[in-house]
C-alpha cells in the first residue's frame, strides 16, 4: 500500500452546484475510498409538518427541490390521498402526468448541460440549457411558474390547461423535441464525450440493486425498475416501458437520461390525446388518519413521501426519502478505484440534488 492522502471534495467545488462533502482517500491519483457527509443546508422541513396544516404542507413539499418541485408536491398529495382514500378526477390525473413529464424533461436537460460542463464541453452545456429555456417557458405558460408550479393540491390540481392551449403545447413540444434530439445525439456519438464517460464509474447490476440505487443509476446497470409502472396518476393508462442500459458506467447513465427525455415527450403526447374533459379536483373532508408511503418516479429516481396522520389537521410524521440520498451508497462504491480527475464526472453522473437530500 502506498502513501495515502485525504483530499476534501466539496462542499464548495467548481462542478458542484450544491454542497455535498466527500473525503477522498487517495493513493497517488487513485481514489481508494470516498467518505460522504451531508447536512450543510439541512432545513428540517419534515418537522414543519407538525406545525402546518396538512393541506398547507403541499406548498412546503413543493419547495423541497427547485427542479422536481412539481413531483414532490404530487408525491405529498398522493400520500395524503392514499391515507384518506381520495379518488382524484381523471382529468387531474392526466394533468399531473403532463406537468410531471415536463419536469422530467427540464431536469434531464439541466443535467445534460451540467454533465457537459463537468468535462469541459461548454458549447454542449449552453445548448442544453438553451433548449431547456423553451421548456421552462412552456411550463410557465401552462402552470404559471417556472420553478414552483403551484398546480398540485390534495384531491386534484389547481389549474387546468384549456383545449386550445393544449394544441399549442403539442406544437411547441414537437419543436423542443427536435432540438433535444440534436443535443442527445451529440452525447451519444461524440468521441470526446465517450472518452470521459465510457468505462468510468462502473457499478454492476447486482451492486446497484443491493446498495439501494434508484432511477437512472439503477436502470443504467440493467435493472428495469421505474416507479411509474405502479400506475399512479394516469400512468396506468399510458404505454411505456422502463428505459434500461447495461453498461453501468457514466455513459450508460447519460444514455438512460437521453432516452428518457425522448420517452417523456411521447408520454405527454399520449396524455394529451387521452385526456378527457371533467372536473379537476374533489372537495376534501375530514382529517388524515393512518399512514401511507407514496412512491413516485422523479427524474433522479424513486422518491418516497411517508405521512402518518392522527386524525388532527397536523401530521404526526412526514418523511421524505429523496433519490439522491438513496444513491449515496452506490456513489461511494463507484468512486472506489477511480482516478481523481474522474471524480467530478462520476459525482455528477448520479445527478445529485443536495437541496432534495437536505429536506
Amino acid at each position: 500500500m502506498g502513501k495515502q492522502t485525504i483530499i476534501p471534495f466539496g462542499p464548495q467545488h467548481p462542478v458542484l452546484p450544491e454542497p455535498i462533502h466527500l473525503d477522498l482517500v487517495l493513493e497517488d491519483e487513485k481514489v481508494v475510498q470516498a467518505i460522504p457527509s451531508v447536512g450543510f443546508i439541512h432545513r428540517g422541513l419534515e418537522r414543519l409538518a407538525e406545525k402546518r396544516e396538512f393541506a398547507e404542507m403541499v406548498y412546503v413539499g413543493e419547495r423541497i427541490c427547485g427542479i422536481c418541485s412539481f413531483i414532490h408536491s404530487h408525491a405529498f398529495c398522493h400520500a395524503i390521498e392514499g391515507v384518506m382514500k381520495i379518488e382524484v378526477p381523471e382529468r387531474a390525473q392526466y394533468l399531473r402526468v403532463i406537468w410531471g413529464e415536463m419536469s422530467r424533461i427540464h431536469s434531464h436537460l439541466l443535467w445534460l448541460g451540467l454533465m457537459a460542463d463537468s468535462f469541459g464541453f461548454e458549447n454542449l452545456f449552453m445548448n442544453s440549457w438553451r433548449i431547456r429555456e423553451r421548456l421552462l417557458d412552456l411550463i410557465e405558460a401552462t402552470a404559471g411558474g417556472r420553478v414552483i408550479f403551484g398546480s398540485c393540491k390534495v384531491g386534484g390540481v389547481r389549474r387546468d390547461i384549456q383545449a386550445d392551449s393544449m394544441t399549442d403545447v403539442f406544437k411547441e413540444l414537437r419543436e423542443i423535441e427536435e432540438m433535444s434530439r440534436e443535443i442527445t445525439s451529440v452525447f451519444e456519438k461524440d468521441s470526446s464525450v465517450k472518452q470521459r464517460t465510457v468505462g468510468v464509474g462502473v457499478i454492476s447490476k447486482e451492486d446497484a440493486y443491493q446498495l439501494g440505487a434508484v432511477g437512472p443509476v439503477l436502470r443504467a446497470s440493467g435493472n428495469a425498475i421505474d416507479m411509474r409502472q405502479l400506475g399512479y396518476g394516469a400512468y396506468g393508462n399510458l404505454q411505456f416501458a422502463p428505459i434500461v442500459e447495461t453498461g453501468g458506467d457514466c455513459y450508460a447513465r447519460t444514455m438512460v437520461r437521453c432516452r428518457e427525455t425522448h420517452q417523456s415527450f411521447g408520454l405527454i403526447r399520449q396524455a394529451i390525446e387521452k385526456i378527457t374533459s371533467g372536473p379537476i379536483e374533489v372537495k376534501i373532508t375530514g382529517m388524515p388518519t393512518g399512514e401511507f408511503f407514496a412512491r413516485l418516479e422523479q427524474p433522479r429516481g424513486e422518491v418516497l413521501h411517508y405521512v402518518k396522520g392522527n386524525g388532527t389537521k397536523f401530521l404526526e410524521r412526514y418523511r421524505v426519502r429523496t433519490p439522491t440520498f438513496a444513491n449515496v451508497p452506490p456513489l461511494v462504491h463507484m468512486l472506489a478505484g477511480c482516478q481523481l480527475a474522474d471524480v467530478p464526472v462520476i459525482v455528477l453522473s448520479i445527478d445529485p440534488c443536495i437541496s432534495c437530500t437536505e429536506r
Partner: protein, 138 residues
C-alpha cells in the same frame, strides 16, 4: 379511471428478530427502499421498507425511548449505513454493529442534535416557565 394505491403491509417485529428477517428478505431478492424513525410519546417506531418487483413491504420495530438501541442491518444491506447514521444523528438512537459508523458526524448541522422530542414536548420546552416570565415580580 380509479386512483392506484399499492398494498403496503407492515410487519411488527421484536428487535432481536430484525436481522434474521432482513436476511430472509434479502435472500428473497428484495431491495432496501428506506429506513425511518417516528418519535412517539413512549417509543420510537422504526420502519424498514423493501421492494421486489413493485411489491412493497415494511418491517417495524417499536423500541422504548429509554432504551433506544437497535441492531444494524448493514451486514445484509451495506447501503443502510446512510439511514442508520441518520437515526443516530437526528434521533439519538444507538445502532449496534454498524459497518460504517460516523459516530454522530454524518450530518453537519448548525443546530444541536438530536431532534427526538415529540411535538408536545417541544411546545412545552418552548413555553415560558413561571420563573422566567418577563415582567413577573417576585
Amino acid at each position: 379511471m380509479t386512483t392506484q394505491f399499492e398494498e403496503q403491509p407492515v410487519l411488527n417485529l421484536d428487535r432481536k428478530d430484525l436481522v434474521s428477517k432482513v436476511a430472509e428478505l434479502k435472500k428473497d431478492g428484495y431491495r432496501l427502499v428506506q429506513v425511518c424513525a417516528t418519535t412517539l410519546a413512549e417509543t420510537f417506531d422504526i420502519t424498514y421498507s423493501f421492494d421486489k418487483a413493485y411489491k412493497f413491504t415494511s418491517l417495524r420495530l417499536s423500541v422504548p425511548r429509554a432504551d433506544a438501541v437497535v441492531p444494524s442491518i448493514t451486514g445484509e444491506y451495506f447501503g443502510a449505513f446512510t439511514y442508520e447514521n441518520e437515526l443516530q444523528d437526528l434521533f439519538g438512537l444507538k445502532v449496534t454493529d454498524l459497518k460504517l459508523d460516523f459516530k454522530g458526524n454524518f450530518y453537519h448541522l448548525a443546530k444541536k442534535t438530536p431532534f427526538n422530542e415529540t411535538k408536545a414536548e417541544a411546545e412545552k420546552a418552548a413555553a415560558p416557565s413561571a420563573e422566567n416570565t418577563p415582567g413577573q415580580v417576585n
